[in-house]
Amino acid sequence: MPPARNMRPVAKPKDLKGTIRRMFSYVGKDRYKLIAVLVCIAVSAVISALGTYMLKDIIDSYIRPLIGQDSPDFSGLAYILSVLALMYLTSAAATYINNRLTMKISTGTMNRIRKELFDHMQSLPLSFFDSHTHGELMSRFTNDTDTLREFLSQSLPQTVSSVITLTSTLVGMLRLSWLLTIILFALLPINLVVISAIGKRSGRYFAAQQKAVGEVNGYIEEMMAGQRVVKVFNHEEKAQQEFDERNERLREAGTQANTLASILMPIMANLGNIQYVIIAIIGAALLTHSNLIASVGSLVAFMQFARNFSMPITQLSQQFNTILLAMAGAERVFEIMDLPPETDEGYVQLVNAKREPDGSLTESETRTGLWAWKHPHSADGSVTYTELKGDVVFEDVTFGYVPEKTVLHDISLYARPGEKIAFVGSTGAGKTTITNLINRFYEIQGGKIRYDGINIGKIKKDDLRRSLGMVLQDTHLFTGTVRDNIRYGKLDATDEEIERAAKIANADFFIRHLPEGYDTMLTNDGANLSQGQRQLLAIARAAVADPPVLILDEATSSIDTRTEALIEKGMDGLMKGRTVFVIAHRLSTVRNSQAIMVLENGRIIERGDHEALIAQKGRYYQLYTGMFELS
């Protein structure tokens, strides 16, 4: 039981009305169910108030008159109680229908929101993922949508029910005695003052607790991740000491926050009791000394109302915070949904092609191993086909991840089909950035990139990326079997194709030695594999895609040089006649490239093949002879 969630500090929503309206748009076709829910809630609330009100009649007209009679006739009492029982049954039925519908609406709405959020996130540019931590985005799917669900399934019905109960109780009370009602209202401010005083203080304490929790959790995470180092350095005691300090702070903050949260209930209940006594005494006085109260039944019924009156008020005040909390969460979700997706004005498509006897290219239904760019011309409505060769040209390309900081300056380069182009340079020199521009993970700010003569801005992003096989610096594997992971490169790949790709990547051997071979489950980003093995799988994944152009970004950094040489041979066979970009720290990886670009601070400072660069005696030479360090 999380201690009073509505007492947590509230981040206020910016546009409450708009957010609520938008939230209801996701209720969508369940809108009619929602109306039914409201009706059901109203029925239950009114019946419950009516039941209390009927107490007066039951006492005054059906029980008290019978007192002292010799042979009392209970048929009247039986009748009114049957009516009451029937009403309560109806109310229970209404509650059930309400709960059932609410459940459908809330789970359905959440499902729609989650899916839309996920779908939209897939369409966002990479820069979005760079600027948000995973934890932050995860909590959109969990915490924020959960508070929303709570809003739909609890806060909303309870608020409606509280309001209706409050009104009908009020009506009932007024009808019984307006004077007592006024007196009761005079006592109400005490409740409100107490609620808001406690609410404010506990808000502060909960914020302090939240902070302490963050510190303890952060320390735990850091120390668990570095536990091996802790042991190697016999640092256990020191770590324990530091942990104890943080832990103690959490205890102090937590004790204060929780005390306040759990103290509210006894306070409110007993305030209610005291108010009840006051009403009873005043009521009794009025009953005997005036005719402002009609009967004993009226007073008893009124006292019953008074007992129940403070509950909806407490509830409403608590709901208010929950609603603010939920709407703040909803705003965070909608904020992401409102972000503009990755733009794509491309219209040039990648198609399988076949060569006609006359040498021209036409589109083919089946995979031919020959690809073409399908280029429609809006001017005359004609379509031309350009063979995909892997000819990449950069013309004075300038780029920065943020406008203020340029990462690449005036990069010009050309890669001819069948060439192996390598980039070397320090971390941060801009090697990875160049490849990120070719596949349009990011948009260039100046200059032009042409792919087979076509400005890449005109090519549809999906087709552009499909034409480029990539093995990324951070290998990432998905939960699933080894086979599934390789198949990620080509969803309809046969088992033979997968094994062939694994052989090219030199992964076949180790895969066969896994407990279940190709069917071994990988979990947790392939945590059960070594970094080198993960890289081999990533290479196999790219190999099965059989791409026209391949980009290897530090793809073999954790693989020993002997295995690397074997992979290189396999990949050379696969990529014969196609373009390959290689980024590596290790010079042995790039040595046999046709063109090596040495990057420094976002500029190409040297280019040429290995021999030419060595002869040049420049930076590459220094690197090669170990006179200069790459960081």
């Binding site: 008290r64 499902n111 536990q227 042991k231 190697v232 006894p266 004993v296 007073l299 990432h476």
Partner: protein, 578 residues
């Protein structure tokens, strides 16, 4: 939960006090309707006899007093429960953290880092909340039940029969709901985790997703996860929502029954009106307390998973511990492997190292070379006893490593791990991990050997620069050199570098090795590397292949006779300058 309770320590007092105070609160709470009944009884006679206002005020005063007492008890128990539960969770986190500090690498391998973190955070939290509820509610409900039953009985024993009908229905109903709901909620939790990991995985792999244009594939994958979650949620809630109408029917049914039977009794004069309303209150209290009890039971069962996960950690035996009468001095840096077999699981057929025999003299420099997965890191992790051998023995300083106090052994054997970790804090703080009492001069000296002094001085703040979590403010090569300096500060007898200079350029690498040779001539140095140049000038080089030593010798010797070594050498020289 019972097993965990002993960790409450001095907070046990509060945890006992809280329920006692609760009893006080409940006694007051159940006494108040009694007073109300008397009030109403007085009022109901108002038409015949004038109300004695003095008597009434006395009654009212008593009631206000009770309300204040009840409030006092309630607030007191809330305070005690908070102090107790928070203190308990503090102690629990403490023993857990302490336990993990005593874990061996093998123990850590068994639990993943992520799972240890959840156990120390989420699971402890859930247990703490459970305990808080337990001390407040678990006593409240039975006491409430007994007291309300007692008063109801005193008021009118004949009406108690209503409960004989209601309570069994309540138990059967709630029991059925609970039994049906529990497995469904477990299933729901799994689905929830499933969605979490689906999103997590997509986020970490987003570049792969985009590079392979698999957005549509990912969307359909997620849609299935989300739908699964929704279905599970509906299945679980479908059962739980029966609770409210069931309670309504029972509660209101009892009220109607009390009105009927009680009304009849009032008519014949065997019951008073006030008693009737009091009776209704007591019946409500009884049913509520029973419902609460079943709710507690459900939460208790649900929290069991967490307590079990916590106990798993606490009951895990650290499998490497210092022996009794442990040796507290390591004589020198000599190392001997005698017929060593090793496997992480203990299973013979998955052995990582097979029959390793080698003897290393103190002060020698040893290179270790082999393919990915050949067992290099496993081999060196046996020297500081990060793992225990499966067969054979490892000797350091002429003694089996299992005879030493582990702290002493690890002080003498310094390892720079492949996966380097720096912690948040300043550079100096991090370096002092090696030796807490190191002077500034010693720190500078170690950094000079590790070729780190120059770049550290170039930082704003120099040795006092903050590294940020995980050492994010320095480059890979710089991080490696800091880690070497940190290990050097231990002034070890054996120094092991596990691929520790992979991001350092060859010239600096050579300078580090040169400095190690001249500054620490008596320290045994073991260097694992992928670059031949890093091991070329070692006294001897060990070639490891699939868990076996295939050759040992100098660079020149190996170039003549070891095929593997030659292969590695050539793969790094191809197209080179020869």
């Amino acid at each position: 939960m019972r097993k965990l309770f002993r960790y409450a320590g001095k907070y046990k007092v509060y945890l006992f006090l809280a329920p006692i105070l609760i009893i006080g609160e409940v006694v007051m709470e159940t006494f108040i309707p009694q007073l109300i009944a008397q009030l109403i009884n007085m009022i109901s006679q108002a038409e015949e006899t004038a109300i004695d206002m003095g008597e009434m005020l006395k009654l009212g005063g008593l009631m206000v007093l009770m309300a204040f007492l009840s409030l006092g008890f309630g607030a007191g128990s809330a305070r005690c429960a908070s102090v107790g539960a928070m203190g308990f969770s503090r102690n629990l986190r403490r023993v857990l953290f302490d336990k993990v500090q005593h874990f061996s690498f093998k123990n850590i391998d068994k639990f993943s880092t992520a799972s240890l973190v959840t156990r120390l955070t989420t699971d402890v939290n859930l247990t703490q909340n459970m305990l808080m509820m337990l001390v407040r509610m678990a006593f409240r409900s039975p006491v409430m039940f007994i007291m309300a039953f007692y008063w109801a009985w005193r008021l009118n024993p004949s009406l108690i029969t209503i409960l004989l009908v209601a309570v069994p229905i309540l138990f059967i109903g709630m029991g059925t709901i609970t039994r049906l709901a529990y497995p469904r909620f477990r299933a729901l939790m799994t689905k929830y985790d499933g969605m979490n990991s689906a999103v997590q995985e997509n986020l970490t792999g987003i570049r792969v997703v985009k590079a392979f244009v698999r957005e549509a594939f990912e969307k359909s994958k997620f849609a299935k996860t989300a739908d699964d979650l929704m279905d599970a949620q509906r299945r679980a809630e479908k059962v739980v929502i029966l609770n409210a109408p069931l309670m309504q029917i029972l509660m209101n049914g009892c009220i109607v029954a009390v009105l009927w039977l009680g009304g009849k009794q009032i008519a014949v004069g065997s019951m008073e009106l006030g008693d009737l309303t009091a009776f209704i209150t007591y019946i409500t209290q009884i049913l509520m307390s029973l419902m609460m009890l079943s709710f507690i039971f459900v939460s208790y069962v649900m929290s069991k998973a967490s307590t079990a996960r916590i106990l798993e950690v606490l009951e895990e035996e650290p499998d490497i511990e210092s022996p009794e009468n442990a040796k507290t001095e390591v004589k020198d840096g000599s190392i001997v492997f005698e017929h060593v077999d090793f496997s992480y699981t203990g299973a013979e057929d998955r052995a990582v190292l097979k029959d390793i025999n080698v003897s290393i003299r103190s002060g020698e420099t040893i290179g270790l070379i082999g393919a990915t997965g050949s067992g290099k890191s496993s081999l060196i992790s046996l020297i500081p006893r990060l793992y225990d051998v499966t067969a054979g023995r490892v000797l350091v300083g002429g003694r089996d490593v299992r005879e030493y106090d582990t702290a002493v052994l690890r002080d003498a054997v310094s390892v720079v791990l492949q996966k380097n970790v720096l912690f948040s804090g300043s550079i100096k703080d991090n370096l002092r991990w090696g030796n807490e009492n190191a002077t500034d001069e010693e720190i500078t000296a170690a950094c000079k050997v590790a070729q780190a002094d120059d770049f550290v001085r170039s930082f704003p703040g120099g040795y006092d620069m903050d590294l940020g979590q995980g050492g994010v403010n320095v480059s890979g090569g710089q991080k490696q050199r800091l880690c070497i300096a940190r290990a050097l500060l231990k002034s070890p007898k054996v120094m092991i570098l596990d691929d520790a200079t992979s991001a350092v350029d060859t010239a600096t690498d050579a300078r580090i090795r040169e400095a190690l040779r001249t500054q620490m001539p008596d320290t045994t140095k073991i260097i694992i590397a992928q670059r031949i140049t890093s091991v070329k000038d070692a006294d001897r080089i060990i070639v490891l292949d699939e868990g076996r030593i295939t050759d040992i010798g100098t660079h020149e010797e190996l170039m003549q006779r070891s095929e593997i070594y030659k292969d590695v050498y050539q793969s790094q020289q191809k197209g080179g300058d020869e």
